[in-house]
Symmetry: C2
Subunit: 319 residues, 2 copies
């Protein structure tokens, strides 16, 4: 046991901070969660992270190689700083890595959470065998990370990979980023629920109505998927439409980057084969001819605790 290498992974969220002790194979051997208390400002959040790590490491005898943190907001991974994370009032710029390193005496690496998810797949998951891939995380938002030659591609300021905010219809749905027709504006979790709620009254025969017993409040992507698995025409066509839109957005990224390996994670990816087949078909349909035979669309391997695992992967990736 003492020969294993361990890292701490911190998944910083607006409500809670999930922290795990992860071995080099990506297995979580212990995990805890603490409130982020984001409303009390950055000092409190940093203090909660420290408190959580101490709690996690209590009675742990194994040597920890380092601490990785996946954070929302604009992250400068060289400097270990986090700027303006949404849902964290009062943050301007916080020197997170420096503060954590000082407290625990081990290296600390901070990355944007979408990039951390991509590094997680690179080190532990579906990206192990790829030198280059695009990772998309389908959740409330649509995050993405671009891996080039087994490294995160950050662009000029670390802000690259906002594929969720590329448009597929420049006169289309208003996106909260200010643009129109962004992939996120069609396939973000809230959008999906909103659209099904609007369309369902026109689909009286859909099985979804029975599954939710005509009460919209429990409607989730999972219920839509369940109906689709039972061959509900509306549910299937809905998921295919979501997948088609994702595929058309991915084709833009592929034509720009000449990277044809795609890994897709996040809750909405739970739509399973129906979604993945639709994404594949739409992507291949729209990329330039030489790219068509090379397109691979794979589900992410890290499911639950992807945030903790991705963050811990930063340690093994950097060291």
């Amino acid at each position: 046991m003492s020969k294993s290498k361990y890292a701490v992974g911190v998944d910083l969220g607006g409500t809670s901070i999930k922290i795990g002790l992860v071995n080099k194979e990506g297995k979580i051997v212990k995990k805890i969660s603490v409130d982020s208390n984001a409303q009390n400002g950055p000092d409190e959040v940093v203090s909660q992270i420290k408190k959580g790590i101490k709690l996690l490491l209590k009675n742990i005898k194994d040597k920890v190689e380092g601490i990785g943190i996946g954070s929302p907001g604009t992250v400068d991974s060289q400097k270990g700083t986090v700027e303006n994370p949404p849902n964290f009032p009062g943050w301007i710029k916080v020197h997170l890595a420096k503060s954590i390193k000082k407290e625990f005496g081990v290296d600390c690496f901070v990355e944007n959470d979408a990039n951390a998810a991509a590094i997680g797949e690179l080190i532990y998951g579906s990206g192990k065998k790829f030198d280059n891939f695009i990772m998309i995380t389908l959740g409330t938002g649509v995050g993405s990370g671009i891996i080039i030659n087994k490294k995160i591609y950050g662009g000029e300021t670390g802000g690259a990979g906002e594929i969720g905010h590329t448009t597929i219809d420049h006169n289309g749905a208003q996106c909260k980023c200010g643009s129109k027709g962004c992939i996120e504006a069609y396939v973000g979790n809230n959008y999906i629920i909103k659209r099904v709620k609007e369309e369902l009254p026109l689909q009286p025969d859909s099985l979804i109505n029975r599954l939710i017993e005509n009460d919209m409040s429990p409607l989730t992507p999972k219920i839509i998927h369940e109906a689709a698995l039972q061959n509900d025409t509306y549910a299937i066509s809905f998921i295919v439409d979501i997948g088609t839109k994702i595929g058309h957005g991915l084709a833009n990224a592929i034509n720009t980057l000449d990277i044809t390996n795609i890994i897709i994670g996040g809750g909405v990816a739970g739509f399973g084969d129906i979604l993945f087949n639709a994404i594949r078909e739409a992507t291949v349909d729209r990329v330039m001819i030489p790219f068509k035979p090379r397109v691979k669309v794979k589900p992410a391997k890290l499911k639950n605790d992807a945030g903790i695992k991705g963050a811990s992967a930063l340690v093994f990736y950097k060291s």
Copy 2:
């Protein structure tokens, strides 16, 4: 004079091959043009390139550092091969660099013509001061090259940078690449002319009607620009619409790449300030907030003979 460094730049086109002797400052000191005779197959074209270079170098005493070739089609710049250039019947894969190097005893570098244009701007033009930029060439097609850390970003197979074939409307106009709503399908030269010809009968007051004396055959982007410069409402709104579409496409590339320096060349860029202002406005409107203040959209510096100059720049770029 003998201290100057010279390169030969070859601009390989479907109809003619333009060849120039270019100094390190990007000045063409001599140039010639020969027919490409593309219909006679690859051996004939390669033979024409050799003939042209010999003609160019006749009576030239200065040492030539190398030969650069900008070619349509899929170029493997490492191997110096050209595959399937459109409008070149009978080409499968031609080892162009090897053949030219053998004939002239100097290094030969081959690049895709859109990438060569970007390297031309990097070495001689508007990209000199940038480490990273996106170069778009607006012509019959919409070509693009991506410069990252002063190098062409080629992606996995050298096919990166097909920004002209990214969609801004996935249900939009059919593009000849097989996809729909690509930037090229809205702003390619032929599309522009076709659209103005369709719209002009509904614009009887437009100055364009008088400039072409109601005969559509001489209609060119230049005439549309002339009308716009004389405050023709229709011509201005047309150019602004073209610029807006380019800007929305560029915003996708910027959000993906975090590269905010844009250089635009090619004939359609002759629409001038009206076009560039529209591109700037639309790009800034649609990129993610942190990118907005950094967006720079500049015209290409290499105008006439950009093909020759870009090709010659390959020599100084590689050596």
